[in-house]
Amino acid sequence: MKILIIEDEKELSKSIATYLKSEDYLCEVANTFHSALAKTEQYDYDCILLDITLPGGSGLEILKELKANKKMDGVLIISAKNSLDDKVKGLTLGADDYLPKPFHLSELSARIAAIIRRKKFDGNHLVKFNCISIDTQAKIVTIYNKHLELTKKEYELLLYFVSNKKKVISKNAIAEHLWGDGMEGNNDFIYTHIKNLRKKLFDAGQIDYIKSIYGMGYKFSDI
């Protein structure tokens, strides 16, 4: 999977690249408008992370260029300008998603995975982790071909974990992913969901994948 990170803040693009590389993505970075334009013209990417404010031009111009050239790259806008104008503009211009800065890397990774899944044309909407198989279109989870009954939030939680496997995910990131802004800090709510999910996976014959990481959050891992 090839990802292009168009972001002028070098430190931020470095962090993103490091995180995504550990998830087995191939990452390229463009720090200016012109280098970004050159790269998008030359290569195809599975997903492009696009900052709006760039030295040399607006990220929205790059998006327009992509759409004019009928490129099929997925586009995720990451902008410090949490202005709704940019969001609406970006999405109407054909961006797949919008994530305001500052974001959780785990959230970014989950959004990228979702975009890439949606962009796939072979109809493969399956996300697999060991014997857990998640059909992201039908929103069904099966273990050993047996249907696993999950509530909506448990399903979202599992998908989020699998999209960030072997990563420590903070409770705040989980809370924000599940309920959006306003619910962070209420860790007991998350705990209830995690407990239920854990139990259901265990009952389906799985080992305990969800590890509590002291003080920080959770990690979904089979080791």
């Binding site: 803040e9 995180y19 800065k101 500052p102 903070s170 309920w179 959050g217």
Partner: protein, 418 residues
């Protein structure tokens, strides 16, 4: 007190005092002049009598009219003192005192000494004075009334530019886009005032705009370093073999960074609402939004074993910015859940007129109305910014919704009347 009233009052008092004083002076002056004239006539009479007595060695016939009386009396003293005086004599016919000017003097006629008394009635003089005074008082009164009326109309006309300027200043809204529009005046003072007001409002608007832009830019610029810190911390937390102590530290920095970022975003949002930067208003289905968000929190509500009862009328539509509508509803719902306790209850009623949310929760310590103020929170919990309700209030103010909050019998009640 209005300027015009104060001015008129002072004016009236001054005019009345001056008129009264001048009337008194006038009375005495005219009286003096008239009496002097009368005395002159009396003196002419005296000379005639004296001359007649000298030439004829006898006195003439005394005249005796109502207003002109002469008395010739044989003198008892050696010499009669010549004196002028004013006396009152009771008139039986008219049943009143009549004033007379009287001169007495001595005359020798035919070796006899006489005391002559000449009296002239002052009645006519008094009548004249009275008439003159009445006329002058009438004129004074007319003058007073006309002055009052002129002042009234003239002043209100003169002050019109001032009042118009005042009205404009009162109407002036810093966050509004329209500039102050002052009426031209040909009066220098008001011209100066208008110029000063124009300069001041322009300056203030400009400063306001600059501060607004600065705040907005600063807030946006802060998000990028925050994003870097956050991403670095997230990477750092992936490291193997972290000690518990280090994990604690990382987590604490991470949470604080989150808080800072949320705080910043909330403040930007508040400023934007205040500056009326959410301009696109559409017909938004509030029922839909409410149901959607309640649905989103459904599992959370179940997990907390909160009893939710909802009565949401379908197709409740408002002309509002959709994003603000979402923020409004989400903030209210999350508040009702967050500040609730296990086994509590939430009751949400939506009608075309109002949205009512009743929920159980920890009793309120502070003043309910203070909750809408920024950074007011009832408990010291670090996970709450204390901006949620002030955002709700700002949105309600923006669309002239009436929001009420009350707490009674462990039930928090929030009502928004659209």
């Amino acid at each position: 007190m209005k300027l015009i009233v104060k001015y008129n009052r002072a004016n009236a008092i001054a005019t009345v005092i001056v008129l009264l004083l001048s009337a008194i002076c006038y009375y005495f002056f005219i009286r003096a002049v008239l009496v002097h004239q009368l005395d002159k006539n009396v003196k002419v009479e005296e000379r005639e009598i004296t001359n007649y007595a000298k030439e004829n060695n006898q006195l003439p016939e005394p005249t005796n009219y109502k207003d002109e009386q002469e008395e010739f009396l044989p003198a008892t003293d050696a010499k009669t003192l010549r004196t002028f005086s004013t006396i009152n004599i009771f008139n039986k016919q008219q049943d009143e005192n009549v004033s007379y000017r009287q001169l007495q003097f001595g005359v020798n006629a035919g070796n006899k000494k006489y005391k002559i008394v000449i009296r002239r009635s002052l009645e006519e003089t008094e009548d004249l004075i009275q008439l003159i005074l009445t006329i002058s008082l009438a004129i004074a009164l007319i003058l007073l009334v006309s002055l009052f009326l002129i002042n009234r109309f003239l002043l209100s006309k003169l002050w019109k530019p001032f009042n118009s300027t005042l009205h404009q200043i009162k109407k002036f809204n810093l966050s509004g886009k329209e500039k102050i529009d002052l009426e031209d005046s040909d009066i220098n003072e008001f011209k100066e005032l208008n110029d000063a007001v124009n300069i001041m409002t322009n300056q203030v608007s400009q400063d306001y705009e600059e501060i607004k832009n600065f705040t907005e830019n600063a807030s946006h610029e802060i998000q990028t370093p925050l994003a870097i810190i956050k991403s670095k911390l997230e990477l750092l937390s992936q490291s193997e073999n972290l000690k518990e102590e280090q994990m604690d530290t990382i987590q604490s920095i991470y949470e604080t960074t989150n808080r800072l970022s949320k705080l910043n975003q909330s403040l930007i949002l508040l400023t934007k609402i205040e500056n009326r930067q959410f301009t696109e208003n559409d017909e938004v289905d509030i029922s839909d939004i409410t149901s959607k968000h309640l649905n989103n929190f459904e599992e959370l509500i179940t997990a907390k074993q909160i009893n939710l009862s909802k009565d949401i009328k379908a197709d409740v539509k408002l002309i509002i910015n959709e994003d603000l509508a979402q923020i409004l509803i989400v903030n209210l719902i999350t508040n009702a859940i967050k500040h609730n306790y296990d086994d509590g209850c939430i009751q949400i009623t939506l009608t075309t007129q109002s949205l009512n949310i009743f929920n159980t929760g920890i009793p309120l310590i502070s003043n309910p109305s203070a909750l809408f103020e920024r950074f007011k929170k009832d408990k010291v919990t670090s996970d709450s910014l204390g901006l949620g309700l002030s955002i709700v209030k700002k949105i309600c103010d923006r669309y002239n919704f009436d929001i009420k909050y009350s707490y009674a019998d462990s039930i928090h009640a929030t009502t928004i009347n659209f």
